[in-house]
């Protein structure tokens, strides 16, 4: 049985109490995306400033409300992608979801267990690994992934706006 310490690691509580990158960015030039956790009511808004030439996430700000897990995950996410390229951010999203045991579009018994390794290859999650304990509390996985899904949606929307 998983204990509370697995879930509430010290670094998580630290991000919860002192969230990084809180605030808003002017829209435009920044892009704002909102996410909801339909189950518990948590909400997050991700402001992304992506440089269309360099493809770098030059700035990111976060607002919204949520539990310690969603807030900490949001804060860590903002730290992790700030300054990274959109491509690196997408790899991070994929790796983080793999950490949360989310392998989309697979029915039970069809996963061969190699996905996690594949998804994580070459990606350093660092502090984010503290969130791995969440996997043992399935209901909380949605708390941890809210910010990441919102980030993904934001990157998709920005990508769609870009001329290519």
């Amino acid at each position: 049985m998983a204990g509370l310490e697995d879930l509430y690691r010290e670094i998580i509580l630290d991000h919860y109490r002192s969230p990084r990158n809180r605030g808003e960015l002017a829209v435009p030039p920044a892009h704002k995306t909102e996410g909801f956790n339909p189950l518990c009511g948590d909400e997050v808004a991700v402001y992304l400033d992506v440089d269309s030439v360099s493809g770098l996430v030059v700035d990111i700000k976060i607002s919204g409300q949520g539990c310690s897990i969603s807030q900490a995950s949001t804060s860590m996410m903002s730290d992790a992608v700030k300054g990274k390229s959109v491509e690196e951010a997408r790899l991070l999203i994929r790796a983080f979801k793999a950490l949360m045991s989310i392998h989309e579009s697979k029915l039970e018994g069809e996963s061969d267990g190699t996905d996690l390794a594949a998804d994580l290859e070459g990606v350093r999650l660092g502090d984010l690994e503290a969130l791995q304990g969440v996997v043992k509390f399935p209901v909380r996985i949605k708390c941890a992934t809210l910010a990441w899904n919102t980030l993904q949606q934001g990157l998709d929307e920005i990508g769609a706006e870009l001329p290519n």
Binding site: G3, C40, R140
Partner: protein, 411 residues
């Protein structure tokens, strides 16, 4: 009316004698769904083992038996809520479907662009979204009865809100605040404006003796799973003449009298609204659930819950003073046993998680009442809710676990 013997009652519920995370299960989430007594589980198991068959269409013994038990259950549930006839009770999946049935059948036949539907700020999504869908589709105006600071409905502008309204649809008891709404003046006001009345009695009927005829409402919706019955079944009660005038909702077997290539004619009520194979065994379980409630007595249940709620409100206040906010009335005569609360600076989700360590089950979230949460200005609350199987010891366990939780998240 003799007081409840909670120890004996606890013994009736197998799950209450199990452990969660190594601790005795302290189940304080009956407002979401109640646990089931042995009598209900046995009634269903017995049906499957001895007289299971599809209903209404079989000539053989077990089919006759299944049909008789199914219809007997309908009569029991109808009688439990004070209906005058069994055929006024339609079995549906849950209260949500009951309200949607009214929205699809009655409202789409009777409401037109410009008509208004009046609901309140404390409605469950089940009594919000169907009307929003209707409003968007038909150009109907949705109006909201606001709330006072004391968590009761603000009825001062009720007459203005009801002007031009075709339907008033309100909850008898809030699943978040516990507030019991004053149905008599609400229904009288609606009548004065010739508006129909739907009562969402999902939280009320499980806890307070109910007579739908005395209420004088037109539609009443509720779910079995919140009143010791199984999942997968609920009921819509409505006056027979209203049901008879309503067009059918779902089409299929059972709800027809005749089908030809050119069209169909409908069966009598209640079957007209029960298309397809119904939740047969669930209905039987529902009947057993109201038998169980009757055996304890609804007045005794209400009395017990009032005292327990009083005890809990006092205990929370004594222990946590202003660090913990309760969202709901303090007067137990106008409230049920659902207590929503928040600690300053600690998210509801985190509180529930820590309580779970001690086997204490409380719900955290928006409780399917996001408009209300926005009125309260919080994203979520924790909610402890009681039923006849809870006692002071359960409340003490809650308070003890909350003390631990507050410490855990102390900055």
């Amino acid at each position: 009316m003799s007081p409840l013997d909670v120890e004996r009652i606890k013994a009736d519920f197998p799950i209450l004698n199990t452990k969660s995370r190594g601790n005795r299960l302290v189940f304080l989430d009956s407002a979401a769904s109640s646990q089931k007594p042995l009598a209900v589980l046995d009634a269903m198991d017995h049906a499957y083992r001895h007289h299971y068959a599809n209903v209404h269409r079989g000539v053989y013994e077990i089919a006759e038996r299944a049909t008789a038990e199914f219809e007997k259950a309908r009569a029991k549930v109808a009688k439990f809520i004070g209906a005058s006839e069994a055929r006024e009770l339609i079995f549906v999946r849950n209260a949500t479907e009951a309200i949607n049935l009214v929205a699809y059948s009655w409202a789409r036949a009777n409401l037109h662009a410009g008509d208004a539907v009046v609901i309140s700020h404390m409605e469950h999504h089940a009594n919000v979204v169907p009307w929003q869908m209707l409003a968007a589709e038909r150009g109907i105006e949705l109006r909201w009865i606001p709330m006072n600071a004391d968590f009761t409905l603000d009825l001062t502008r009720l007459d203005i809100l009801l002007d031009g309204a075709k339907l008033l649809s309100v909850t008898a008891m809030s699943n978040v605040l516990g507030t019991i709404n004053p149905l008599a003046p609400l229904i009288a006001a609606a009548r004065a404006h010739d508006a129909f009345v739907l009562i969402d009695a999902c939280q009320y009927i499980p806890h307070v003796a109910t007579n739908v005829r005395d209420w004088g409402a037109d539609f009443v919706a509720f779910s079995a799973h919140k009143m010791c019955g199984p999942s997968g079944i609920g009921a819509l009660w409505a006056k027979a003449e209203i049901l008879e005038a309503m067009p059918p909702f779902l089409g299929g077997g059972e709800m027809i009298r005749d089908v030809r290539l050119e069209g169909f004619t409908t069966n009598d009520i209640p079957w007209k609204f029960e298309a397809g194979t119904p939740a047969i065994v669930e209905a039987i379980g529902f009947g057993a659930a109201v038998d169980y409630l009757d055996s304890l007595g609804m007045d005794a249940i209400r009395d017990h819950e009032m005292r327990l709620t009083r005890y809990a409100l006092d205990a929370l206040h004594d222990e946590f003073a202003d660090r913990l906010t309760v969202y709901g009335p303090r007067d137990v005569s106008i409230r049920g046993g659902a207590i929503s609360f928040l600690f300053d600076g600690i998210h509801a989700h985190d509180i529930s998680q820590v309580l779970d360590e001690d086997g204490v089950c409380v719900r955290a979230g928006h409780h399917c009442a996001k408009p209300l949460m926005r009125q309260l200005g919080v994203p979520a609350t924790s909610r402890a809710s009681f039923y006849m199987y809870n006692d002071e010891i359960d409340v003490d366990c809650l308070v003890a676990a909350l003390i631990k939780a507050e410490k855990f998240f102390a900055i």
